[in-house]
Amino acid sequence: MSVSVSNDALHQFLLRMGDNTLILGHRVSEWCGHAPVLEEDIALANTALDLIGQTQMWLGLAGEIDGGKSADDLAFLRDAWDFRNVLLVEVPNGDFGRTLMRQFLFDAWHSIMLGRLMTSADDRVAAIAAKASKEVAYHLERSGGTVVGLGDGTEESHARMQEALDYLWPYVGEMFASDEVDAQMVAAGIAPNPTDLREEYDALVGRILTQATLSIPESQFAHKGGRDGRMHTEHLGHLLTQMQWLQRAYPGAKW
């Protein structure tokens, strides 16, 4: 690492990256066996597998900094207030349209973020970003294509996609919020200021949503509270109840 930075800030940053992929990967995996068509079932599982793999890398590194914890320790033994994912990824799947819209809105941010992280001053961060960015480029192509197809499909699919966008849009802003942790990351050259990604994001998302014949809601209101853990949605607790159950019920067992 070239510039010294507080381990705590770096730890928080890594949790934000890893918790996003952990929680979204979990949500996407809920589709397995229930998708609209076999080909989509298989594709969604690939996305979830990529996200789980990325989680192992981000949380693995976070655990290393946090006194030698494993990625599993962090995923399965923290309570909701210690999670640092944005609210967008923890909202329930809803219908296939909402799942794919959420995926697209996240992929767009994710791909831009990872692109910047590839030149991180921290080699470990840069290496994870380099691997993840290839996977995410495909996620974005797939989710973007599906959003366009369904937005500009039938009347029903259009209406459902617009509804999904209306529901999810208030969760987009949190991905671009900045705080003290981000300031330290910027100062150390580890990560960009999230606020600076917004312009590129708006251009990318605007282009796809226009092709999809969907309208971005006018309100710029943004829910927040996930990436600093101050106030998650009620949904996260239920997700963790399921995900962490075995580890909690049988402490210390090896699986």
């Binding site: 066996g33 229930h34 499909g153």
Partner: protein
């Protein structure tokens, strides 16, 4: 097996053509979709491959039941990859069936309204994490017994699908054994889970091969056509012989007091499963039949707008392209 009790159809076609067809099969020449084939061969194959495909698809559900509760990130990834493979296998098999002149949607509708069946095993619940190990080890183990010889089946597309499936499937049984081994060697609670899984999955696994068919005319016809390679009893015996030492290694007890090595036969003697339970499950009265079909129906119905939407978009673009030319 994944295709249980498939009835063969009787043929009443030109005897000369039938003889020529049988001669090709006897000479191990593959039958390809455009080749002449008896109607009965075609119908029986559609039924068998369709049932096999349905089993893969419904088979996603009992294991999928644990994806969100997998105890580590690695186990979650392995399980997800495995269940995804089942979807892939269903897809390959549907494609093989489609070469016989039936569409995937038609086959799907027949599954959803109960006209076609899937393997009885998937109507049993997965109740603890060791069940995931047991399903991989015992259920996939039993399936492999049948699938390996089916790579040599007479119908080209089916044989090619089976070759691909067997190649991918080889990790499934091993991951199952690995998962249940961790449990068998773990805490007392984990051992209890492993034994509980063994107790519940042993007999349903034996049922997968179907009732004895050594005197069945359907079976004889299917074997002559090489769309069935071994009798149910042969495969069941092979499965038991292979599995007993694996269970012993784990220190798990197979729930059969009469199980013992028979020196004279060179095989294990074992108890037959309760066939009345099997027929109940086949009739729709297994523990999970209703839930399994409801889940598949829901996925299909809820997905309709998605399938229609994406197709409508593709058609719009295509007509746009044509107009621009």
């Amino acid at each position: 097996m994944y295709a249980q009790m498939v009835k063969s159809e009787a043929s009443n076609e030109d005897p000369e053509k039938l003889a020529e067809f049988q001669a090709r099969i006897d000479a191990d020449i593959k039958i390809e979709p455009k080749d002449w084939m008896p109607q009965a061969y075609r119908k029986t194959l559609i039924r068998q491959i369709g049932q096999h495909a349905h089993s893969e698809i419904v088979g996603q559900l009992p294991e999928g039941n644990w994806i969100t509760r997998a105890p580590t990130l690695e186990r979650k990834a392995i399980l997800l990859a495995k269940v995804q493979d089942e979807a892939g296998h269903g897809l390959y098999l549907y494609c093989a069936a489609e070469t016989l002149g039936v569409s995937r949607d038609e086959l799907t509708e027949m599954l959803l309204d109960g006209r076609m069946k899937y393997s009885s095993i998937f109507n049993y619940p997965t109740l603890n994490w060791a069940d995931i190990g047991a399903v991989g080890w015992l259920v996939d183990g039993a399936a492999i017994m049948n699938q390996v010889p089916l790579q040599r089946t007479s119908f080209g597309p089916y044989s090619r699908a089976m070759i691909r499936i067997c190649k991918e499937e080889s990790f499934h049984q091993r991951q199952g054994y690995d998962a249940i081994r961790k449990m068998a060697e773990g805490t007392p609670e984990q051992r209890k889970m492993a034994q509980d899984a063994m107790n519940r999955f042993w007999y349903p696994s034996l049922m997968m091969f179907g009732p004895s068919d050594k005197d069945s005319v359907h079976s004889a016809q299917s074997m002559a056509w090489k769309i069935k390679i071994n009798t149910n009893d042969e495969l069941r015996q092979k499965f038991v012989d292979q599995t007993v030492p694996q269970a012993e290694y784990l220190g798990l007890t197979i729930p059969d007091p009469d199980l013992k090595w028979n020196e004279e036969r060179g095989h294990y003697d074992f108890s037959e499963p309760d066939w009345s339970e099997f027929f109940d499950v086949i009739k729709g009265n297994g523990p999970c039949n209703v839930d399994r079909l409801a889940a598949r129906n829901k996925a299909w119905d809820d997905g309709k707008w998605v399938r229609d939407g994406l197709l409508a978009h593709a058609r719009k673009k295509q007509s746009g392209n044509l107009a621009a030319e």
